[in-house]
């Protein structure tokens, strides 16, 4: 296990270094997330009565869209000069590659969220972070499930010609349960709903994360064989 974590750490650091040097991803993805929440702000008639329900959905859709945009990038770095082959030829455990890519994607999504949420609070006049600890837990559990499946599907689609289209087409249907649990938990916290409501959603999110993380880590080895 230590060996897997050490390798995952090295791949993660390499990804961060290449990403921050190329400076291609973070700025564009943030702009995209920002545009989604601004456009929804104009598209819907938002009033104090419907704001919490609408806003939680809008916020999660912005995260899903922006996150999906970034997912494709994580394996495209490896396609450059066929580095994925070089990585596959080295004696590393495939699970380490999955963990590194998952953590990298998660890190960038959290950065996007940290940048987007303050803008959202100002634009929608709604403090989504009022219950800071619980809301952070909802975001993190939602992010983990999203990035677990996203990393797996991004690896599967990286060799496809129409990967930019196929990645969201394959991924988004699988994320519907997660979107429902996460958006309703966020809405419940915004409306000051019953603890049973959001705690139930949090448990469902945690279960979703555990199931898909284990399955994805196990399946990833076979996907690597095809890359």
């Amino acid at each position: 296990m230590n060996e897997i974590l050490r390798t995952a750490h090295a791949i993660l650091l390499k990804d961060m270094k290449t990403e921050f040097r190329s400076r291609e991803f973070l700025g564009h993805t943030f702009m995209f997330a920002l545009l989604v929440i601004v456009i929804f702000n104009f598209a819907f008639k938002i009033n104090p009565q419907n704001t919490p329900e609408l806003a939680s959905g809008i916020l999660w859709i912005a995260f899903l869209f922006a996150g999906t945009l970034g997912l494709g990038r994580s394996f495209l770095i490896e396609k450059e000069n066929d580095c994925i082959q070089g990585l596959g030829l080295s004696p590393v455990d495939r699970t380490a590659i999955f963990i590194a890519k998952f953590l990298g994607n998660l890190f960038f999504l959290v950065i996007i969220q940290i940048m987007t949420i303050p803008v959202f609070i100002v634009l929608y006049n709604l403090n989504v972070m009022e219950h800071f600890t619980l809301q952070t837990a909802v975001f993190l559990l939602g992010d983990i499930g999203f990035m677990t499946l996203g990393t797996l599907i991004a690896a599967m689609s990286v060799n496809l010609k129409a990967r930019e289209i196929l990645l969201p087409v394959l991924l988004l249907p699988l994320l519907v349960p997660l979107l429902i649990f996460a958006a309703s938990a966020t809405a419940a916290l915004l409306t000051g709903g019953e603890p049973d409501t959001y705690m139930g959603r949090l448990k469902l999110l945690a279960a979703y994360d555990v199931i898909f993380f284990v399955v994805s880590a196990l399946v990833f080895e076979y996907i690597m064989d095809e890359l």
Binding site: R6, K14, I77, L89, S90
Partner: protein
């Protein structure tokens, strides 16, 4: 006495209905330098992919150093050089080598990277990003990458692609150096003069079958070209 280090027994590979390899037998001795020639679609790259453990044969068996080629333990003992560099453009030459050394679980990563950069005469450019390198420099660095864990087996897939004459000659010298260090080298190339110069043995594949496999014994490129055309046709 020489020991056989790479063995293929009736190796076959199908991709759907397409047959890429048809029962290829091969036995490579330790320290041999074998070059495999053949027209496009002959099955050369497929054979190399099987030996590297990237893909499994549909029939037959391939062993590298007494282990099944798909065994993860084999990966520690092979170095692969392709026309693709497997290098990260946004890392420096030094960072690339340190990264790969880490992937092979090596201890003295920085020292090994520095030593390899010196051996391929890139030590002066160690802190330059790979994206600023010429094709020749990238190929030299890719040799260093393949040698990072001091592998016993070196596999090369069209390594001369895109190299100018000067870089190709320099690359050839580096390959000869590998052979002198008793590495077992298996190379695939279309370039007969460069491919035959370093080899101790030459093999020709055609339509997934082995049609020629003989020691080179100082044969010149022109003589081998005649054999090649005879076996493969124009």
């Amino acid at each position: 006495m020489q020991t056989t280090s790479i063995i293929c027994q009736k190796v076959g590979k199908k991709y759907g209905d397409f047959v890429a390899l048809r029962g290829v037998d091969l036995a490579v001795n330790e320290g041999d330098f074998i070059t495999i020639f053949g027209p496009n679609g002959a099955g050369k790259t497929t054979l190399l992919k099987i030996l590297c453990g990237i893909t499994r044969p549909t029939s037959g068996a391939a062993t590298v150093g007494e282990s099944d080629a798909h065994d993860p333990a084999v990966r520690k003992r092979i170095g692969v050089i392709s026309h693709k560099s497997y290098l990260y453009d946004n890392l420096t030459a030094f960072e690339n080598l340190v990264f790969y050394a880490e992937m092979y679980g090596m201890e003295n990563r920085e020292a090994r990277a520095a030593e390899l950069l010196e051996s391929v005469e890139l030590d002066q450019r160690k802190n330059d990003l790979v994206r600023n390198f010429s094709r020749g420099m990238i190929q030299r660095l890719s040799i260093a990458r393949a040698l990072v864990a001091d592998p016993a087996f070196i596999f090369l897939d069209e390594p001369f692609t895109g190299l100018d004459h000067h870089s190709a000659v320099m690359f050839q010298k580096l390959l000869s150096g590998l052979h002198r260090r008793k590495k077992t080298v298996l190379m695939i190339t279309h370039d007969i003069p460069l491919g035959i110069a370093a080899a101790t043995r030459a093999m020709i594949l055609k339509g997934g079958r082995k049609v020629h496999d003989e020691p080179v014994n100082g044969m010149d490129a022109a003589t081998f070209l005649k054999i090649y055309l005879e076996k493969v046709g124009t």
